[in-house]
Symmetry: C2
Subunit: 385 residues, 2 copies
């Protein structure tokens, strides 16, 4: 186990009706709030009216940043920063999924920063202050509700980059708020959270028995619950389980003392930056190919994955055959729940493959399980065609 520092101050309010705590939270954080949300889904579901009502009950003046994109854009973030400065906004409330929360985080750290907020994503500056941020999560996927990461797309330069920004002060997670998530978004969310676990599971670090079992616990729980949630989108317990798994997959619990990878995310960000495809869909395509490309670096880790997560029967098989059976099971699962399996599903051909390979490696080789150059990335993307 490596040395680590763990600190996660986010307060999680989980379950039916927890939105009722919003008024007391608002009273603590100030009377001028920026409400950040995406398209109209929270208006259709009635959540928007409820949230605004509770904020007004707390005496808040509500300013709005709406229309945050599925891959949130730098231009939108900058609009939010401007509103906050003009209106002396004291805190931010994000209502939506990971994109909305990521944009809100960027606004939160951008407001007190004198330079360009994009600096944080280019890693030329580190946030030192932030407006307080609360979230009301409506989608089980990114874990952004309980971590400090934010991913933003600069559409002018076609760059999609992640930065360490700020933890939400509080996050309200009511499984009922996810009942109306469309089928494809539910599928993408499942692919996304599983991918987060993969990034932290495939590691060469030794003596990480508990972290390994925690990761397998999340994967097994997501796998056994995914089809239940797709069959019945209003199954409270299944939605609750998936929602909780999404948070635990990326709230800092899994990577403690572990060297993690994150190459596949960088590859997907490059694809999304060029083609604007759904993040979870991209991951479902790329991850199994990444696995095939790298598994020989540590066959025994992939063997364990196959046996523990997918229940592959090891008897009569070589270590490599077991490892490959686990990768096949991963591919089969993504296909079974209806995730895309090839770039062709998004009508992506080989034209921009070298561009994407370059974009995936802006600061040099990526990943740690196997270090990948832009040539490696191009090869993995070719396998995805």
């Amino acid at each position: 186990m490596n040395n680590f520092i763990y600190h996660n101050p986010t307060e999680l309010l989980f379950g039916k009706g927890q939105l009722s705590h919003l008024t007391e939270k608002a009273r603590q954080l100030g009377t001028s709030v920026l409400l950040v949300y995406g398209g109209g889904s929270i208006k259709r579901s009635g959540l928007y009216d409820k949230v605004v009502g509770l904020l007004q009950e707390a005496g808040c003046r509500v300013h709005e940043l709406s229309g945050v994109e599925p891959n949130p854009r730098l231009s939108t973030v900058k609009k939010g920063i401007e509103i906050c400065r003009q209106e002396n906004v004291e805190w931010i409330l994000a209502v939506g999924g990971g994109s909305v929360i990521d944009a809100a985080k960027a606004v939160a750290v951008g407001v007190p920063y004198e330079g360009d907020v994009w600096d944080f994503y280019l890693r030329t500056a580190v946030p030192e202050a932030a407006l307080p941020l609360g979230t009301v999560l409506t989608l089980a996927a990114t874990g952004s509700e309980m971590n400090r990461s934010s991913v933003v797309t600069n559409w002018e330069t076609q760059e999609k980059l992640g930065a360490s920004t700020t933890f939400p002060t509080f996050s309200i997670l009511d499984p009922e708020h996810t009942f109306t998530v469309p089928r494809d978004q539910t599928i993408y969310g499942i692919c996304d959270m599983m991918s987060h676990v993969f990034e932290q599971y495939f590691s060469h670090t030794e003596e990480i028995a508990l972290q390994t079992r925690f990761a397998e616990s999340i994967l097994k729980t997501v796998i056994e619950t995914a089809e239940r949630v797709l069959a019945n989108p209003e199954d409270y317990d299944a939605r609750a389980t998936i929602l909780y798994c999404g948070t635990m997959a990326l709230n800092g619990t899994l990577p403690v003392g572990v060297e993690t990878d994150w190459a596949t995310h960088k590859i997907e960000h490059a694809v999304s930056a060029v083609y604007d495809i759904p993040h979870g869909g991209g991951l479902a395509i790329i991850f199994p190919k990444w696995m095939r490309y790298v598994y020989r670096e540590n066959v025994s880790r992939f063997k364990r994955f196959a046996v523990e997560v997918w229940g592959v029967d090891p008897s009569g098989k070589s270590e490599e055959e077991i490892a490959l059976a686990g990768i096949e099971a991963t591919e089969a699962f993504f296909a079974r729940i209806g995730a895309p399996t090839r770039l062709a599903d998004y009508k992506i051909g080989e034209e921009k493959l070298p561009v994407m390979a370059e974009k995936a490696t802006p600061f040099g080789p990526i990943g740690s399980f196997k270090q990948l150059t832009s040539a490696d990335v191009a090869e993995i993307l070719r396998m995805c065609l």
Copy 2:
């Protein structure tokens, strides 16, 4: 899954050499510090000198509360509160195991409180303020380094009670600080952390798949590591794994959305309050008997425990036989690592059994897996003789 609120602001600094962060932490928290510790073990190991040196480097005036007992006493806590008030102490540093940290927590909430700190343990008052508290952990056991619980013994009334007090601001966990822990203390620590998991695992709450797997993950990891750590007390990786398991067993991760039990802890506290035996030793005796007394309330939960945690082969056995095999495996494990198995090991007979049964139930019946009256507790204690 039940509704829950999770919030744990403690910063964990884990690994070799993390003590070096103490100076920067001290600079943030103030120049007048109360150093809380137990017997002389941190002086013998050299840790005391290192800590005092780092505090002085940060410009701190160091006041001391030493001699904190294994079951920390109210009288000691009150002495600490007095020192803090006289010396205008700004923050507290606990260096030791759970008892030292629990006493330091009591001091931290006692200083700003006008009434008697024992009120918090009698549940007639709730702490509203606390001095900041840092910890340097030297024993893998109670999890106190990352939760807000504190257990204190009032020796005048022979009451050992727990209260919700304050989270440490930071905790430094270096596995090397546990190398010199004596064999019996190492064993008690293992029994203690496993018991914490049991209290949160045996539950009737449904739809808690992830919490269940996390609990099993901790138990399996402790079980496979325990004998390694006992065979070689300076095995860094084994000490690190046990240390991390102890923290995760009681930092609020396992009980989210779950109805937990805690009857066995209350029974053990009653025994310790009367006989001053080691907490972990008492738990090792009582828990398997509690299991035998209550397993019929939810045989399938105990069956799962047997199969998943202990690897009991279920073939050809009834559900009850499997459940009982799991309880037997628990008893056999405690015996194998050298934990006490009967109250007679501490020369405790039946004389004060009714007194202990009453003390275990001061506010009425205890536990939720099966509600236990003082008569039930007496029966369980009789099984432990």
